[in-house]
C-alpha cells in the first residue's frame, strides 16, 4: 500500500472524528431534537438543553480517552518494536484499576478514585521500568516481562479487593472495572485535557526519534539520538496518558492495541503520521463505541469495554490473517 501524504491522512482522521462526534451527539437512547436544542424554548427546549449538557461532555470524554489510549499504544509499539505492546500489557492499566479498587475498598469517596487510579498507574509504570532496567539501560525484553509480572500482581490485588468488598462497593467497582463513560462531566473533561495534550505534545515531538528506533537502537544512537532518554520519555508519557484515561473512564481494552495496527495498515509506519493519526482514530472509535453503548439497548447501557472488545477482536483477527 502506498502511504498517503501526511497532511491528507491527518485531515481524513480529523474529518472522521468530527463526523463520529456529530453522529454520536445526535444518537442515544433518548431522542435529542436539534431544533428544540437551538430554540431552547418551552419544556422541550429545556429537555433538549439538559440532554445536550449530559451528552456533550460524554462525547468529549470518549474522544479524549480513546485518543489517549490509542496514542499510548502506538508509541509503545514503536518504542518496543513489538506489535503486542499495549498499555494493558505493560501493567499500567492494571495498576490504575488496582489503585481505584483499593481506594473504594478502604471506603474513600468515589471522588478520590481518579486520583487513586492515577497513583496506581504511576506506581505501576515506575515499578515496571525499574524492574526492566539493567545496567542503567531500559531493556525492552525485560520491560515486557516486567509488565507481565505487574499484571499478575495487580489482577491478584483486584480480585482480592473485589472479594472482600461489601456488596455495594463491589457493585460500583465492577462497573468501573468494565469501563464506563456514564459519569462524564465537564469537570472531568477539563481535568483530563491537560494530561492528554501534554502527553500528546511530548510524543509527537519524539516521533522523528521513534522513526530512527525502527531502524535499530544502535543506528539511532549513531545518528545522535539519546536512546535511553527517548525510551524513558516515551514510556513515561504513554503511562501518563493511560493512567489518566483509566482514571476517568475505567478499564477499556483493545483501543490501544487495535487502533495503531489498523492505522499502520492504511497509512504506513512513519511515526510522524502514525502517532497523530492513531490519536484521532482512537478518539473516533471510542466516540462511536460509546454511542453504541448508549443506544443499542436503551434505556439500559452496555459496558463500553465489552463493545470495544466485541469490535476489536474480529477486526484484529482479520488484520492478523491478511498480513502475510
Amino acid at each position: 500500500v502506498k502511504a498517503p501524504g501526511r497532511g491528507a491522512a491527518l485531515l481524513a482522521g480529523a474529518v472522521l472524528l468530527l463526523c463520529m462526534g456529530v453522529l454520536a451527539f445526535s444518537v442515544g437512547g433518548v431522542h435529542l431534537s436539534l431544533a428544540d436544542l437551538v430554540s431552547g424554548r418551552g419544556e422541550a427546549g429545556q429537555t433538549a438543553r439538559m440532554l445536550a449538557a449530559l451528552r456533550l461532555p460524554r462525547v468529549l470524554l470518549a474522544a479524549l480517552v480513546g485518543g489517549c489510549l490509542a496514542l499510548a499504544g502506538a508509541a509503545l509499539q514503536a518504542l518496543l518494536k513489538n506489535p503486542l505492546a499495549d498499555p494493558f500489557l505493560l501493567g499500567t492499566s492494571g495498576g490504575a484499576a488496582a489503585g481505584a479498587a483499593v481506594a473504594a475498598l478502604v471506603g474513600a469517596s468515589p471522588l478520590v478514585s481518579p486520583a487513586a487510579a492515577f497513583v496506581g498507574a504511576a506506581a505501576a509504570s515506575v515499578g515496571v521500568a525499574s524492574m526492566a532496567r539493567r545496567g542503567g539501560r531500559l531493556d525492552l525484553q525485560r520491560l515486557l516481562l516486567a509488565g507481565l509480572i505487574a499484571n499478575a500482581f495487580f489482577s491478584a490485588l483486584l480480585l482480592a479487593a473485589f472479594s472482600i468488598a461489601s456488596g455495594e462497593a463491589s457493585r460500583s467497582m465492577l462497573f468501573w472495572m468494565m469501563g464506563s463513560l456514564a459519569d462524564a462531566t465537564p469537570g472531568k473533561v477539563s481535568a483530563l485535557l491537560p494530561y492528554a495534550l501534554g502527553g500528546a505534545a511530548v510524543l509527537f515531538a519524539a516521533a522523528p526519534r521513534l522513526n530512527l528506533f525502527a531502524v535499530g537502537e544502535e543506528s539511532a544512537a549513531a545518528l545522535g539520538v539519546d536512546a535511553e532518554r527517548t525510551k524513558r520519555v516515551v514510556f513515561l508519557s504513554a503511562s501518563l496518558l493511560t493512567g489518566a484515561a483509566v482514571a476517568f473512564a475505567g478499564v477499556i481494552g483493545f483501543v490501544g492495541l487495535l487502533v495503531p495496527h489498523a492505522v499502520r495498515a492504511v497509512a504506513g509506519n512513519d511515526q510522524r503520521t502514525l502517532l497523530p493519526l492513531s490519536a484521532l482514530s482512537g478518539a473516533a472509535l471510542l466516540v462511536a463505541a460509546d454511542a453504541v453503548s448508549r443506544a443499542a439497548l436503551a434505556p439500559v447501557e452496555l459496558p463500553i469495554g465489552a463493545i470495544t472488545a466485541a469490535l476489536g477482536a474480529p477486526l484484529f483477527a482479520w488484520l492478523l490473517l491478511r498480513t502475510p
Binding site: G29, E168, A182, R294, P299, V300, E301
Partner: protein
C-alpha cells in the same frame, strides 16, 4: 442484586473437592446418627437473609445452626454462626453438620449448591422472581421443616393482606408512573420478573421499566427524561451517603425524577423476598395514593 465473581466456579470446585475429602476422612470417626429420612431436620443452615427470616417466621429459628452473613433479622438471628455472604464457605457449612441447607435460586451460586449436594448434604433451593415465589418459598421451607400447618397459616395470612391491598388499589384510575431503584450508582431498577416489580405494581403504581427483564442498569439520559412521578428506593444507614450523592448531583438530580415523589422504605424489609415484603407492600400501597 447479584454479583459476578470472576474466579468463582474454579474456586468452588476446589472447595468442593476439599469438602469431599474432608467428609471422606471425617466419616470414619463421626458415627453421628443420621436422622431418619422422614424426620424433620434439626440442624438447618440458611444461605440467604430472607430464608433466615422465613425459618424464624415459621417458629423454627432455634433449629438454625448457621446463617448467611447479612442475616440480621430478627434480632435472635444475629448470634447464629455465619457461613459467608454471597460467597458461601462450603467447609464451614459442612463443619456444622447440617441436615438441611436452604439456598435461593437467585443469589447463591449454583456451584456452591452442587458442591454441597456432592458432599451428601441435602440442599433445598427456593424460587425467586415474583411475590408468588415468595409465598411458594415459605410453603417449601415449611414442608421441609415439618411445619406445613404453620406455613399454611402464614401464607394464608399474607395472601389475605395481599388481597386487601389489591382491593384497595383496584379502584384507582391514575396509577403513578414509577421506578423502583435498588441501587443509585450505577442506577439499577427492578424490571419484569422480579418480586420488586410485583411489589410496585400491586401497590398501585406502573413500573416504567416493567417491560425489561431482571435488574436493568438505566442510563443517565433515560433517568433525566423519563416521566417519573414516583420514585421508590430502599433506605439503610449504610447506603444513605450513596443515595444522597445521587439525589444531590448524580443520576437522580435532573429532569422529572428530581421532582418526583420519593418513597424510602426500610431496605431489609423491602429487598429481601421474605414475609416482611408484605409489610412493605402495605406501606407502599398507602404511599402511592
Amino acid at each position: 442484586l447479584t454479583r459476578d465473581g470472576g474466579g468463582r466456579p474454579a474456586r468452588q470446585r476446589v472447595a468442593g473437592a476439599l469438602l469431599a475429602a474432608g467428609l471422606l476422612f471425617g466419616c470414619r470417626h463421626e458415627p453421628r446418627a443420621a436422622a431418619p429420612a422422614n424426620a424433620a431436620p434439626r440442624r438447618v443452615i440458611a444461605l440467604a437473609p430472607n430464608l433466615t427470616e422465613i425459618v424464624f417466621a415459621l417458629g423454627a429459628g432455634d433449629r438454625l445452626v448457621g446463617v448467611s452473613e447479612y442475616s440480621d433479622f430478627p434480632e435472635a438471628a444475629r448470634t447464629i454462626p455465619r457461613v459467608g455472604g454471597l460467597e458461601v464457605d462450603a467447609e464451614k457449612v459442612a463443619a456444622l453438620h447440617p441436615d438441611l441447607v436452604l439456598a435461593v435460586a437467585e443469589g447463591n451460586a449454583r456451584a456452591t449448591v452442587h458442591a454441597l449436594e456432592a458432599a451428601g448434604i441435602p440442599v433445598t433451593v427456593t424460587p425467586s422472581g415474583s411475590l408468588d415465589a415468595v409465598l411458594e418459598s415459605i410453603r417449601i421451607v415449611a414442608g421441609k421443616l415439618g411445619r406445613s400447618e404453620e406455613g399454611g397459616r402464614l401464607v394464608a395470612d399474607l395472601e389475605r393482606r395481599r388481597a386487601a391491598v389489591r382491593e384497595q388499589v383496584a379502584a384507582r384510575t391514575d396509577k403513578p408512573r414509577a421506578l423502583l431503584i435498588v441501587w443509585p450508582d450505577p442506577p439499577q431498577a427492578a424490571g419484569a420478573q422480579t418480586f420488586l416489580n410485583d411489589l410496585l405494581t400491586e401497590a398501585g403504581a406502573q413500573n416504567l421499566v416493567g417491560d425489561r427483564k431482571g435488574w436493568p442498569i438505566l442510563s443517565v439520559e433515560y433517568l433525566a427524561t423519563a416521566p417519573v412521578e414516583l420514585l421508590v428506593a430502599p433506605d439503610s444507614p449504610e447506603t444513605r451517603p450513596a443515595w444522597d450523592r445521587a439525589f444531590a448531583a448524580g443520576a437522580l438530580s435532573r429532569g422529572p425524577i428530581a421532582h418526583a415523589r420519593v418513597v424510602r422504605l426500610d431496605e431489609s424489609a423491602m429487598t429481601r423476598p421474605g414475609p416482611r415484603v408484605f409489610d412493605t407492600l402495605e406501606k407502599l400501597a398507602g404511599a402511592t395514593r
